[in-house]
């Protein structure tokens, strides 16, 4: 399995997906080798929960991002070649997103093996349009991957439709398998008041949580702008934004500009353990994304037993059913986001019912073991 991110290199949902899937596959007796990129203070070779992880050092760099991607694909391909000599032939080459697609295509042909590509998003979806040469190249690599792969896995039904429509891929070739969740990690007792105090949130405050990379696609700027409207009716609300990204300074400027210091708190990256503590200490989770092929954060909030408010886009519409397992709001609409938060905070009994339904759904539908079983089915079909 080739992926550019694998814990502790966690940029987005892709790392969590590969982590959850690879461990579940290993539990089912599949020998999984992960080829990924180096990360400071992390061994180049290790075995974690039965998964053999190989981190490649990128020996040659280049200021241009696309050239850098081509270079690390070369080092991944080299590592896969060496591994074939050491451990024998692989049955499947499984790559994730365009970032490792080129190495996967080369390996498919040199090793004469079947290629499976999982798409977690598309360039057209992330950027809205292919307005730059780099965007067009990424889009072309994605298309080339869907052509070369025996099967394409997408993380939601909406992404499956997008891939079939945009790349003109035959329907039989594209299989939607959602992300999974380790629900047991949310079964622990936390001292809510102590966790809240770390972020300046009082015991009686209403803690709204949001999590993600601080990039425009996540829509955090709209959520921040909705907070003054929420505060008019719920003055004890505090918003905690977990994550980091190149937009952080802009978001902090916006918070200052709206006079929301102390009401909106940015934490930067925090450990998984701290994040779980926060999920278990929050009152509401908001996922205000503008584009979200899946929406791992919403699933985590559901597993933690939180009422979740999500933009009605992409995979979020599949994970969350409006007024059954959460609340939909219009993407990029400040008034709608404020309405959603007020709806949940003003109706605590109803919010509890939504959260209970959501937790049940997370447990029943989105287990990593179920995801692994469906993935193994795709592998079997690819080998046939």
């Amino acid at each position: 399995m080739l992926t550019w991110e694998y814990p502790p290199r966690i940029v987005g949902g892709l790392a969590r997906h590969c982590w959850g899937l690879s461990r579940a596959l290993a539990r089912k007796g599949i020998e999984v080798h992960i080829i990924t990129l180096e990360f400071p203070d992390t061994p180049l070779e290790e075995e974690v929960d039965g998964v053999k992880v190989h981190r490649v050092k990128i020996e040659i760099g280049n200021p241009n991002f696309l050239v850098w991607v081509l270079l690390f694909n070369h080092f991944m391909e080299k590592k896969a070649g060496l591994l074939t000599q050491e451990v024998g032939e692989f049955d499947i080459i499984h790559v994730h997103d365009w970032l490792t697609t080129l190495a996967g295509i080369s390996l498919k042909h040199t090793l004469n093996k079947n290629l499976v590509l999982t798409l977690h998003s598309t360039e057209i979806g992330r950027s809205g349009e292919l307005s730059s040469p780099d965007s067009s190249t990424k889009d072309s690599i994605e298309w080339w991957g869907t052509y070369e792969a025996k099967y394409v896995i997408t993380v939601s039904d909406s992404l499956r439709s997008e891939v079939i429509g945009h790349f003109k891929v035959p329907e039989w070739k594209v299989v939607a398998i959602p992300n999974g969740i380790d629900i047991y990690v949310f079964k622990r007792n936390v001292d809510r008041n102590r966790v809240r105090a770390r972020y300046g949130v009082e015991p009686n405050d209403k803690l709204i949580l949001t999590v993600g990379r601080l990039v425009p696609q996540k829509g955090f700027h709209f959520l921040i702008q909705a907070i003054p409207k929420v505060l008019m009716k719920h003055p004890n609300v505090k918003l905690v934004i977990v994550g980091d990204g190149w937009m952080r300074s802009q978001l902090e400027d916006l918070i200052r500009g709206l006079g929301l210091m102390g009401k909106v708190i940015t934490t930067g990256f925090i450990s998984d353990s701290e994040l779980i503590d926060l999920y278990l200490s929050a009152d509401v989770l908001v996922v205000p994304s503008l584009y979200e092929p899946f929406g791992m954060v919403a699933l985590e909030g559901m597993a933690a037993g939180l009422p979740v408010i999500v933009s009605s886009v992409g995979g979020l519409r599949q994970i969350v059913e409006h007024d059954k397992t959460g609340v939909w709001v219009y993407p990029g609409d400040i008034n709608s986001i404020a309405w959603g938060i007020d709806y949940v905070l003003s109706n605590p009994d109803h919010a509890r019912m939504l959260a209970n339904n959501a937790k049940r759904k997370a447990k029943e539908v989105f287990s990593w073991d179920a995801v692994a079983e469906r993935t193994i089915e795709v592998y079997k079909r690819a080998i046939r």
Binding site: V11, L14, P40, G61, N64, F65, G268
Partner: protein, 79 residues
């Protein structure tokens, strides 16, 4: 983060300045980013204060590299 900071942090990642032994001097970064040294120093110090960049002094020269958080921020646009 302003756009110049974004450029610097992404290029540090792409050229592999991600550990002490691969740290780069201002002059080397300036050549790769095409940003003048004075402006670059200001940006790098700002990135240092944000925890995205660290530096070491080697042979009297300050050399800069990305922290683990800086690497993840650099890549945040692409995932």
């Amino acid at each position: 983060m302003k756009s110049i900071s974004k450029i610097v942090i992404e290029i540090l990642n792409n050229v592999g300045a991600i550990s002490k032994n691969r740290a780069l001097s201002i002059e080397e970064i300036s050549r790769k980013t095409k940003i003048d040294a004075e402006r670059l120093k200001e940006t790098l110090e700002q990135l240092k204060s944000m925890g995205y960049v660290n530096s070491i002094s080697r042979k009297g020269q300050e050399r800069y590299f990305l922290t683990p958080t800086g690497i993840l921020v650099a890549l945040s646009s692409y995932s």
